[in-house]
Structures are given as C-alpha cells and as structure tokens.
C-alpha cells in the first residue's frame, strides 16, 4: 500500500512536471521579474527616471484631464499618485474599450511623451498570470491549471522524497551531473517549499472567483457582485443617472478622506461615471507599511460631495485573504524582503528547470531517439533558456528601437512584444534542430544579450552603472543593470563549463548550469 502510493505519486510528479513544467517556468520566471516590475519600468522608460518630487501636489491640477475624460464619455478616470517605487503620476481613463493613459512628471505637472513600451507593469506582470493569451481568458485558466499542478507537485514531491531530513542539506557538486541536478532540484524544492506553496496558493486565491464562478454564483447573482462586495466597492454599483453634473473639488474631498484616515495619504483617486449626476469619487489609501492589503476606501458622491461609504473594519476571514493577496502582490515597501522574494523566485525557477533536466538526463540513454523525448528536449531548452533569452531580447529591443518606430502597422510597444515572441519561437526551433549544442549556444547568447542590454542602456541614456549607483533615484536602474551583469556572468560561467565538457568528452551528458542562470 505504502509502496503503491509512493509509486503513483512518483508517476504523478514526473508527468505533471513534464507536461506543465514549461508553463510553470514561464509563470515563475515572469513572476520573479514582476517583483521588480516598477524598477523594470524605470529601466525601459528612461523619461520616467525622475528625482522624487516634493509632496502635496494639488489634485485640481489634473482637472483638464478629467474634463477631457468627461468629454470622451469615459466610464472612469483615475489618478495613481507617485510613491517610493513609482516617481511618475499616472492618469488613466477608459472610453468604450480603450484605455487612455498618461504619465505625468509630478514636479512640473507636464505630461511625459508616450514611452512606447509596455515595460514591466504592462507586459511582464500580466504575462505572469495570463501568459498574454486573451482569447476567452484561456491564459488565466492555463496558469490556474499549472498552479494547481504546482501544488500537486509540491505534495507529491514531498511524498516521494524518501530522505527529506537526512538529505536536507545535501548538495554534492563533485558527483555526476545527473546527481547534481537531482540535488539541486531537491535543495531548491525542499528549502524553498514554504515559498513555493504560499506563493502558488495565494496566487490561486487572488483569482479564486474567476476559477470557481459556480461556487460564487450560488449566493451571488454574478462574480462581479462578489468582487464589489468583498472589496467594499459596492458604491460603484449605482443606478446610472445620465444628467450632467460637474465633479466637486478633488482637493477638498481628499482633505476629508485624509482626516478620516487619521492623516494617511491616498494612493489612488477614482472618479466613476465622471460628469454624471450619479458619479462617484473614491479615495484608496496608501498601504505601503503593511503586508495585509487594506485600502480603506472612502467614497463620495461626485456631484454633491456627500459621503457615500467607507470600508468597514475587516473581518478575520477577509483579513486572512487580504494577507495572502498582500504577500503575493508585494505592494508594500520593504527592500530587503523584496530582494528575498526575488532570490527565492529564482530558486523556484532553478527547481523547475533542474526537474526538467533531470527527467531528460535519466532517459537520454534509453529513449534518446524517441519522438516524445526529442519533443520534450526541444521544449525544455525553449522554455528555460528560451524565455530568458526572449526577455533579454525584449529589453535589448527596448533600447534599440527608435522612439517612433512603426512597422507593418505595429507601434513601438507592439514591436517589442513581437521581438519577444519571435526570439522565443526561434529558441524552440533551435532546440529541435540542434539539440546537441542548444544549451551551450543559448547560455552564450544569454551572456551576450544581458551584457549588451547594460551597454545599450549606457549608450542610449548616458546612465552608466557608476552614475546610477551614485544617485538614489537611479538605483532602480542600477539594480536592473547589476542583475543583468550578474546574469551575464553566470551565463558566461555556464557556457565555459559546458564548452569544457563538450570539448573534453563529447559523449558525456550535458551539464545543466544553464538552468541556474538568472
């Protein structure tokens, strides 16, 4: 019984990993990068590398933008105020299905020119949970399936690991490559287990109402009603009154919101149905000092300024959920913790990659020529080193494309995304056509791309690492450059090791250091 259970869990671990490993690696890789999404934005949008502006911007400064939104019959208009990680102020409104968004220099109040990139917050972060597949929300469901598989993999992995305590600290770099792979997989898996489980679980919980709509509609008319209710946004569900009415003074309302919060600042200002009698003016509190996400929304009538609602104190259940989503979304400001997340995320990537490679190395001798094996072999390189390479190509293209690039009807931001997908696709093809040298070639390419990204950032913006390190407000750029340089260094080491191995004895199984390249 015991044996049978272990065997079936082993089977489950292997195949869930092989089938969904590619998706999992993509999700964890993009998720790890999303830890620093704002910092990636600074790197990719040089115009937004601004010194922090003095506090106390008048919200009324943005009245023209609000009027513009009213004229465009926008469904909503909002301001996201600058903070420690985000020096620019963001204005956004939605008309029909299109979002109009501007970045504003808070010091001068001028709208910055369009940055022509989706950057970290609009490409890398959404990729993390949608894979950028919008068709019928298919991407979200695939990510959800992969996340469930991740939980299953964690459970089955613990069950099949016979010597979890005896080998808790075991890593033997002098052994054969297959053994090293398994050691690495076990070390990253076991030591990072709380991280894998909690991040995966909280990610699922955040999108829970999307994944289990039937359970929600058992007590709500639709999932949207639940979303409004749970997030204290019920003030938005209002009977539309189309008669025109101007929006009251934003500053005055903000002062009242501040007073209600005991002096805390708003992070987001939202006007729903601007310009209508039924408009709503809501303030969302900053939440930088807590893991638990409590925005404490204060809503006024946009037309009269009367207080409509304020979030009630959170119940224990909602608190638990907000803590989980807070620990996943990392909206708080804690630099050391942020780096810990980043390193642990890279650990998860190494675990997934080494799991893949171990599967390959154990089957190379017996099934090396089978179609299925070749298929997974190409898939592995494409989904491990390939997505790293594609991301780097995304960064490089960001620095290389001219400001008003336009090609085949695609704007600059779309072209960057096309570069990403083209390079990614090419790495798969490369893996299938030249399986012998794929790891060597792709880790060399990673080193070249990462190094060049730093160089191109210097050439195109003048912000070389010495300059970025000496100015506090350029540290995000410095951090990204440093990570790229460390990644280039690791990739170079891996390349040299792989090359030595290939030169030394050509039949030896390929080393897998490429997986640990970050």
């Amino acid at each position: 019984m015991e044996q049978g259970f272990r065997r079936s869990m082993g089977w489950l671990h292997t195949w869930a990993g092989v089938v969904l490993g590619s998706v999992l690696f993509a999700v964890f890789w993009m998720g790890t990068l999303s830890v620093f999404d704002n910092e990636i934005d600074r790197w990719m949008k040089p115009a937004t590398r601004l010194a922090p502006a003095p506090h106390g911007i008048s919200l009324e400064t943005f009245r023209p933008s609000l009027d513009e939104a009213i004229a465009a019959k926008a469904a909503f208009w909002n301001i996201i105020l600058p903070n420690d990680r985000q020096p620019v102020l963001q204005l956004r409104y939605k008309t029909g299905k299109t979002f109009v968004s501007h970045e504003v220099d808070p010091a001068s109040g001028h709208i910055l020119p369009d940055s022509g990139t989706l950057g970290g917050t609009e490409f890398i972060f959404p990729f993390h949970y949608t894979l950028q597949i919008e068709l019928m929300d298919l991407g979200e469901w695939v990510v959800g399936l992969a996340a469930m598989a991740m939980l299953v993999l964690c459970v089955s992995g613990v069950i099949i690991h016979r010597k979890i305590f005896a080998e808790f600290f075991t890593f033997r770099p002098y052994k054969k490559s297959r053994r090293i792979l398994l050691d690495l997989h076990n070390v990253c898996g076991v030591l990072g287990l709380p991280f894998h489980i909690f991040l995966t679980f909280s990610g699922l919980v955040i999108l829970g109402a999307t994944y289990f709509p039937a359970g929600v509609t058992a007590v709500y008319s639709n999932p949207r009603a639940y979303f409004f209710d749970a997030n204290n946004l019920s003030f938005l569900a209002v009977k539309p009154d189309r008669s025109a009415a101007p929006v009251v003074s934003l500053d005055e309302a903000a002062t009242r919101a501040r007073a209600m919060w005991g002096g805390d600042e708003p992070q987001t200002v939202l006007v729903a149905n601007p310009g209508k009698a039924s408009s709503r003016l809501a303030f969302f509190r900053v939440n930088e000092g807590h893991v638990l996400m409590d925005r404490d929304v204060v809503a006024f009538s946009g037309a009269t300024g009367a207080l409509i609602s304020r979030s009630p104190p959170l119940s224990p259940v909602i608190k638990a959920q907000r803590f989980l989503s807070g620990l996943h979304l990392i909206q708080f400001h804690h630099w050391v913790l942020r780096w810990v997340y980043f390193v642990l995320g890279m650990g998860s990537c190494v675990m997934i990659a080494t799991g893949f490679l171990f599967w390959q190395e154990s089957r190379r001798k017996t099934q090396g020529n089978m179609f299925g094996f070749r298929l997974v072999e190409g898939l592995t390189s494409g989904s491990v080193t390939g997505i790293i390479l594609a991301t780097l190509a995304f960064f490089v293209s960001n620095r290389l494309l001219p400001a008003n690039a336009h090609w085949l009807g695609q704007g600059r931001a779309a072209l960057e995304v096309w570069v990403f997908y083209t390079v990614w696709f090419a790495t798969f093809v490369h893996g299938w056509v030249w399986p012998r040298t794929v790891w060597l070639a792709q880790s060399a390419a990673i080193a070249v791309f990462a190094g060049n990204a730093v160089l191109l950032n210097w050439v195109t913006t003048g912000d070389h690492p010495l300059r970025t390190l000496s100015h506090r407000y350029l540290w995000p750029v410095a951090g990204m450059d440093m990570v790229l340089l460390v990644g280039a260094g690791l990739a170079l080491l891996a390349t040299m090791r792989l090359a030595r191995r290939a030169g030394g004895h050509s039949s030896a199984p390929r080393q897998a250091k490429g997986g640990s390249v970050g």
Partner: protein, 119 residues
C-alpha cells in the same frame, strides 16, 4: 541601521542551520570531525530550534507581525541554502564549529552538572 539587523538575523539563522546540519553523520564526516554522542545531538538541535524561534520573535518585534513572519520565512530558506552551499563546496569552513560542538561535550554533559548548564 535596519540592514545590519537583517544581516544579524541571517547570520543567526545560518548558525542555527549549521548546528542542525552538523548533527548529521554525512556532514560531520565531510567536515572531518568525529560523530557526536546522541545527548549532544539533542542539545545541538535544541539550541538550533531556540535560535530559530529567537529570530522569529526578534523579527516580529522589530518588523511587526506581517513583515516579521515573511522576512523570517524568507531568511530561513536562504540561510538553509547558504549552509547547503557551504557544505557542498567548502565544508572545511564549518569545521571549527563542528569541533566546537564536540569540544564542549564535557562542559555540558549531564554528569558534570556545572551551574548554568541548562542551555
């Protein structure tokens, strides 16, 4: 400065995991030290557990409940990884600690019962 405090947390956690690892036969062999008597193993594990708890309490005290727990959990993983890496590549670095664990056996052994040996 907060950063130094986090370094201190990480160091104490590293020490705790090093103690735990050095109660295991394979790692004692790789550091070239003799095996510990069972009583000593229990004591070392107890001290390690105490250190882990102490850092958790300190982290919650200085960082607050949410950040404290997350920071502790993260640093626990990283410190354990660091111990693993050191044991993998340079086990000799932990040899002094391994010897120390052996050396103090006499001082802490129950037969001597010196004052303040409760640790």
């Amino acid at each position: 400065m907060a950063f130094l405090l986090y370094c201190a947390f990480a160091l104490v956690l590293f020490l705790a995991f090093a103690l735990l690892a050095l109660t295991q036969f394979t790692h004692r062999r790789s550091t070239g030290t003799a095996e510990l008597p069972p009583e000593r193993v229990r004591q070392a594990r107890f001290v390690a557990g105490l250190l882990l708890c102490a850092v958790l309490c300190a982290a919650i005290y200085t960082e607050g409940g949410g950040f404290g727990v997350l920071l502790w959990a993260g640093l626990v993983s990283l410190a354990a990884c660091a111990v693993t890496v050191v044991l993998g590549w340079r086990p000799a670095l932990l040899a002094p600690l391994a010897r120390l664990m052996l050396f103090s056996t006499g001082v802490f052994s129950p037969t001597h019962q010196p004052p303040g040996a409760g640790g």
